[in-house]
Symmetry: C2
Amino acid sequence: MSPVDLAPQELRTLVAVADERGFSAAAVRLGTTQSAVSHAVRGIERKVGVVLFERGRYGARPTAAGERAAAHARRILRMLEVLVTETREAARDGKIGEIGEIGGPLRIAAFRSAALYLLPPVLERLAARHPGIEATVTVVREVGPGTAGEVADGRADLGIATIGTSSPIPPELVGDVLLEEPYALVHPAGHPRPRSLPLVDWQENCSSYTRQWWAAQDWIPTATVRAEDDGAVLSMVGSGLGMAIMPGLSLTGAPPTTAITDLGPERPTRRVGYVTTPELAATAAVRALVRELRADAKPQVRAV
Amino acid sequence: MSPVDLAPQELRTLVAVADERGFSAAAVRLGTTQSAVSHAVRGIERKVGVVLFERGRYGARPTAAGERAAAHARRILRMLEVLVTETREAARDGKIGEIGEIGGPLRIAAFRSAALYLLPPVLERLAARHPGIEATVTVVREVGPGTAGEVADGRADLGIATIGTSSPIPPELVGDVLLEEPYALVHPAGHPRPRSLPLVDWQENCSSYTRQWWAAQDWIPTATVRAEDDGAVLSMVGSGLGMAIMPGLSLTGAPPTTAITDLGPERPTRRVGYVTTPELAATAAVRALVRELRADAKPQVRAV
DNA sequence: CGGATCCATGAGCCGTCCTCATAGCAGCAG
DNA sequence: CTGCTGCTATGAGGACGGCTCATGGATCCG
């Protein structure tokens, strides 16, 4: 008999305040009043017995406990949605002769190159096969917790992530590798000695093995330029400002003024895969997406 | 914007009706009236748009959709509990100097021999180390979905299960093998030709490999006696009524009137492990239990 | 044909949660 | 210092949802 009972509306309030970092902003998002939010948060804190937000002039910042509570709340809210859609699917599947048409929202977190070059054909086929699924893609920097963090915090149902020894699949999540792609050298087309150009680097592409490989190459210049993301890197290379070492996916959109050179048999590679939560892994919508991802990834694996 | 919103009380109603197979019985469990349950179920069915229970004079039986909804509901309710306890733990851990004392309820499902001979020392140490944890063990037959089914349906937080190729860890759950134990022959002590006795069998001990091994043994008599559970088998053997082939855990409680004979290097074995849901795997209480299970299991693995 | 045992339904009550209005507080500009 | 502008806190009142109570309908049973 637990005297604590958080209603869905309270969970939504929790999430909104944590996301918007303020009671007033959260009220706008929820379509309610600031007063309601204040009352609700106070009630939740009383029930749980923990201060979840630090209030101040600036608004409200979640405490460590509040952050954790919000992450749980996001996932519980998602499971409530799943309960409804899965129950409806089960009811439809019961009627003989009809094939259950799967549908519902599907939130995908992906790093930039995956969102631009890997997902579009996959989502196109997914939409053709299951018109009821409403997929939304949010681009997330693959730094820190990255796309897997989005999934763990309940902000996404499935994440496209780089998977390696330095960034394994978190224990509370499940997932698999989809493809392993090589890094390659990209440089301005027609340049006489491309390896003499400065190296353009960006934040997200570093796995431990890749760094190690870099260190072993004596021709890589120490003077490097740092750019915002892989798209910026490519356009800089295209303008003749330098060369770069980038994974295959990022090179899909390389402008015509660039040339790509293979790095040989010892070239570094990176593994790209998906992660999701176990309860969502059993979902028809997520399974359908994974199926399409696999169908798309296999030829590329073979090509490598 | 989904117009569906199931309150915790509604989830509890769902679970109670599914468990008790009747509105009136569910009302008693929930400490409310039959009318409230009827209204609530009707409201839920209207919101979800699916008939969840078949009503009859016998009471109410969940439909396939209702069964699924109840399983989801159980897990969501458990996650709501986890949200609260984890949030409180996070708040306590925030205060420097204090070590967070973990606590809360912990529901374990185990098959009979594990509950009798594997869990007691583990739970004793767990209780000594974390007095706040309230562990409850329910004995479940390891047939059909077994202990893993209890976990998947949200009736238990962790299950002790036999793990093999014919019964792998379900994809929506996580877990690991704890120990691999051999089957051995148990027979009445002092019997001149124990292998001539009828074989006493019981429901739960069959893995595919074990069955295969049995078939390859020409000395196993075809005339077998079938008993209720492994305890009953042991007492029958102890009374001189037959012999049996049983896994090590079940033999821990063998009476003194029995003798145990090793089956040699080709003897069949079974793997015993634990399963839990991914969201619970991250819980401090579950992690503490798994730690104790591992500490207890390792020596046994070495002994085999 | 009562009687027992289910679930269904309508009326009315009560608590919960929301809105509205207002107060308190901190920074900032003049 | 004062007034303005963000923000949150708080109290009073009202709408709504969910509960109880009482009753009705269906089915099985002796």
